[in-house]
């Protein structure tokens, strides 16, 4: 399977675009080379990953009471990390990375965005890297990775590449950056499938075809022998990113969606977690020796409610978790200042209280990888962020 998809990637429509002004339908090709040997991969986890489920604070006595129906702790298959936190069982394949010091987390982190809890505003703010609690972006409405590129000496048009269907906001802006869309790409999220199924159910013409149509569009096998229209997964994205990072690219960004687990979280969270796990393992194996000089930041727009809701899911929250991986890490750590889940600890009596700014971790990462000045980072990349003391993410 890896061989097959790899072949398709290499012979498929590989194209690296560079102009933000061109129509998204165009796929221009540019080529060049890059500065330094350090590499950064940013994965945007769209839909709000539930940090409390992925990095479970088992040491907090309040956890199980808040979430009686979830797969928690050893009984639910979770893997102990440091005696206090445990990793969700679906990501157990990442444990070798943890033991090798190539995996870390930051917990109870967030952007400055508060209270409205809109996916779109939250993701915009995360990718913009500036902004405020209301979700207003910086004046340029560009992405922090793109602004960072303007500071890295020797940056060329293929130094950074967005892998996926579009140039995400995080890499949009004045600095040239590539983008590439694989033939096989990510599906609609589970959440979007449910929403569409509801819409179709109310229209008789669409209702009869809907179930099979949605399954087909997601590349699942359906009864009757119809072949799936496509097989979607994050592996091709990670694989292509690795391929470019082994060549000229030093920065890559892509997205993994599917985290919006309003219903049946036990089931829903498995697919995106598997995708994330597979993406990280693919990056490690395909980057080879370059993995040693790579840092991966997997960031989400916000966390989810601490309490399980009435339909075995969770709703939009505030504080969440960030996943970090790579050979360049000083890993095996859960960074952050734990706010607790007990009575009075929760933000607005519902969400994990954010105690750290997620952008601070990203800021220290780019400082370490690309040697940027602290003042430049605070002024250009993450305006308004105080870097504070070094959290020592990298080795």
């Amino acid at each position: 399977m890896p061989d097959l998809s790899r072949r398709r990637l290499l012979t498929g429509s590989v194209a690296i675009g560079c102009s933000a002004a061109a129509s998204p339908l165009l796929t221009p090709v540019t080529l060049a080379s890059a500065p330094g040997e350090n590499r950064l991969v940013v994965i945007v986890l769209r839909g709000a990953m539930d940090g409390l489920d992925v990095v479970q604070p088992l040491g907090d006595a309040a956890l199980t009471g808040l979430r009686p129906g979830f797969d928690i702790g050893e009984a639910g298959g979770a893997q102990d990390l440091d005696g206090y936190f445990a990793l969700h069982g679906e990501a157990a394949d990442l444990m070798p990375l943890w033991r090798a010091g190539e995996l870390s987390f930051a917990h109870a982190v967030s952007t400055p965005y508060r209270d409205k809890r809109s996916h779109f505003d939250g993701q915009d703010l995360l990718e913009n890297g500036g902004g405020d609690a209301t979700g207003t972006l910086t004046e340029g409405r560009d992405g922090w990775l793109n602004r960072m590129l303007t500071l890295v000496p020797g940056t060329r048009s293929d130094t950074a590449i967005a892998v996926g269907r579009s140039q995400p906001l995080i890499l949009s802006g004045s600095a040239p950056a590539g983008s590439w869309s694989p033939e096989t790409d990510l599906d609609l999220s589970a959440q979007a499938e449910l929403l569409l199924a509801d819409l179709y159910a109310s229209d008789p013409l669409f209702a009869s075809a809907a179930e099979t149509a949605i399954a087909l569009s997601a590349g699942r096998d359906v009864p009757g022998g119809m072949s799936p229209a496509k097989a979607g997964q994050a592996v091709p994205l990670a694989s292509f990113a690795a391929e470019r990072l082994n060549e000229e690219a030093r920065i890559a960004a892509f997205s993994i969606g599917g985290w919006d687990s309003h219903r049946r979280q036990k089931t829903v969270i498995r697919r995106p977690l598997r995708e994330l796990t597979a993406a990280l393992l693919t990056l490690k194996s395909e980057l080879g020796r370059n993995w040693e000089r790579t840092t991966v930041l997997a960031m989400t727009e916000f966390g989810r409610t601490a309490r399980e809701n009435g339909v075995a899911g969770t709703d939009h929250g505030t504080g969440g978790a960030m996943v970090m991986a790579g050979g360049a890490l000083r890993g095996r750590r859960v960074h952050g200042d734990w706010p607790g889940l007990g009575e009075g600890d929760l933000y607005e009596d519902r969400d994990l209280r954010p105690t750290g700014d997620i952008r601070r971790y990203a800021a220290w990462t780019v400082r370490g990888l690309f040697g940027l000045e602290r003042s430049e980072i605070e002024r250009v990349v993450f305006p308004g962020v105080d870097l504070g003391a070094n959290p020592k993410i990298l080795s």
């Binding site: 129509s23 339908l25 779109f120 140039q167 906001l169 569409l196 509801d198 087909l216 569009s217 969606g257």
Partner: protein, 449 residues
């Protein structure tokens, strides 16, 4: 909220709303936009014939393994392929950003009425010329003129075998013992004019086929060759056409008469209503449209006025679904894609964005199942695999445009007054921008018209 007439003008009678907010207005504005005749355009027919001739020669040489023939064949093939994409680009650009969306929809309607399945190299290069030269200039004009232009166009003469139909009593027929092909004659009666339910007999088909002999084409275009035309008068539906010597004038007379028969009027009126409005026709509407057609001697603008005057024409109930081509055009318009953007698309992008998706949705480009054109039954388009392909296209295209769109605004500019609480809620609840945009495009609200 029910759809406003202003939005219906663009959704039912055009190619959908766009963020520009421009509307083609109501009946009067739509009809006024048809008034200036659309000039024929695109690559002239003789150039197309030359492209084909080069290709056929190169292929023959390659088969006989003439030196250098393989390269010549490749370049001739590439030239044909270039022309195919030039035509597709022009077609798509007009649909996406033509000045009169109603005119573009009508052009597509008549192109389907006179469907040609482009299953050979010749038809792939000729068929777009039929639309450009035989249909487009007459869309706001008279149906008899359109019928005559189509029936004498090389693409139709080739597709329905007229160019190989030889009068048994003609010079050539007697010398070579070859004969009649009834295909075009039958389809003109059954599909293009009277309709299959009309009162005509095999004898009419036979004599009409004899009358049509002599119609053929060469590299310059249509040509009437008396040597293959059946001599003598022919009787079609009780009227005698032609005299002892075969003359093209007799064919013209017969086509014009057929075009103006009451059966033709009802057949065309029924098809127009079914295509644009759908459902069982409201009482009297079909009669009024057919009467307008007959009273004006086949003036299409007058006919459309009667069509647009029906109550169902502006009913907020959306009975039809967009065909795959309409869906893709409307989807591109929703993202603000312009004719100019389309004209810059390269073959690879057109293949990815238009050709492959069209095939997956069940409407491969220029390949209708037969001379009766594409299905008008919404159920045929919203099959499991057809709908799956729409969902995929929606997701794919939404993904490419997501960075430029705000879901709430996209919903507003794309569905206009057709936003329902259900689709608004689904859009709000989507976990990513791309999902939200895809839900709008995949929704029944967007797919219906």
């Amino acid at each position: 909220m029910a759809l406003t007439e202003r939005d219906l003008a663009d959704i039912r009678w055009g190619y959908g709303l766009s963020p520009s907010g421009r509307s083609q207005g109501g009946t009067e504005a739509m009809l006024a936009a048809l008034a200036p005749t659309d000039a024929a355009e695109g690559t002239p027919f003789p150039e197309r014939a030359q492209l084909l001739r080069d290709f056929v020669e190169a292929r023959r040489n390659a088969r006989q393994q003439v030196d250098g023939a393989a390269d010549a064949q490749k370049s001739a093939q590439a030239a044909l392929r270039r022309q195919y994409f030039v035509d597709l680009r022009a077609d798509l650009a007009r649909a996406v950003g033509g000045g009169s969306p109603f005119r573009e929809r009508l052009t597509a309607f008549w192109a389907d009425h006179f469907a040609v399945r482009a299953s050979s190299a010749r038809l792939r290069v000729f068929a777009p010329d039929l639309v450009a030269r035989a249909i487009r200039p007459h869309v706001g004009g008279r149906f008899p003129d359109m019928l005559l232009a189509v029936a004498t166009h090389p693409a139709m003469l080739d597709y329905l075998d007229q160019s190989t139909s030889i009068g048994p009593g003609s010079q050539v027929g007697q010398r070579r013992g070859r004969g009649l092909n009834e295909n075009l004659a039958r389809e003109i009666l059954e599909l293009h004019t009277l309709g299959v339910d009309a009162d005509y007999a095999q004898k009419d088909v036979r004599e009409f086929a004899e009358l049509l002999t002599g119609m053929t084409f060469d590299d310059a275009g249509f040509r009437f060759r008396a040597q293959i035309a059946e001599p003598g008068a022919e009787t079609v539906l009780g009227t005698r056409y032609g005299g002892r010597r075969a003359e093209f004038g007799a064919v013209v007379d017969a086509l014009v008469d057929l075009a103006l028969r009451p059966d033709t009027a009802r057949h065309l009126a029924g098809k127009l209503i079914e295509h644009f409005v759908g459902g069982p026709p409201e009482r009297g509407h079909l009669d009024r449209v057919a009467d307008a057609y007959l009273a004006s001697d086949g003036d299409l603008a007058v006919t459309y006025r009667a069509l647009l005057a029906g109550e169902a024409a502006w009913s907020p109930e959306l009975r039809k679904v967009k065909t795959p081509f309409e869906f893709i055009v409307a989807g591109l318009r929703a993202f603000g894609v312009t004719a100019d953007d389309v004209s810059k698309l390269r073959p690879r992008e057109l293949t990815r964005t238009v050709l492959r998706p069209l095939a997956a949705m069940g409407q491969p480009y220029m390949m209708p199942p037969g001379p009766d054109g594409w299905s008008e039954d919404p159920g045929d388009w919203i099959s499991a695999s057809g709908l799956a392909a729409r969902i995929l296209w929606a997701r794919e295209t939404a993904g490419r445009f997501e960075a430029r769109q705000t879901p709430a605004r996209f919903l507003e500019t794309t569905l206009g007054s057709g936003v329902t609480p259900e689709v608004a809620r689904a859009t709000r609840r989507a976990e990513s921008r791309a999902d939200a945009l895809a839900i709008v495009l995949a929704s029944p609200e967007f797919n219906r018209r």
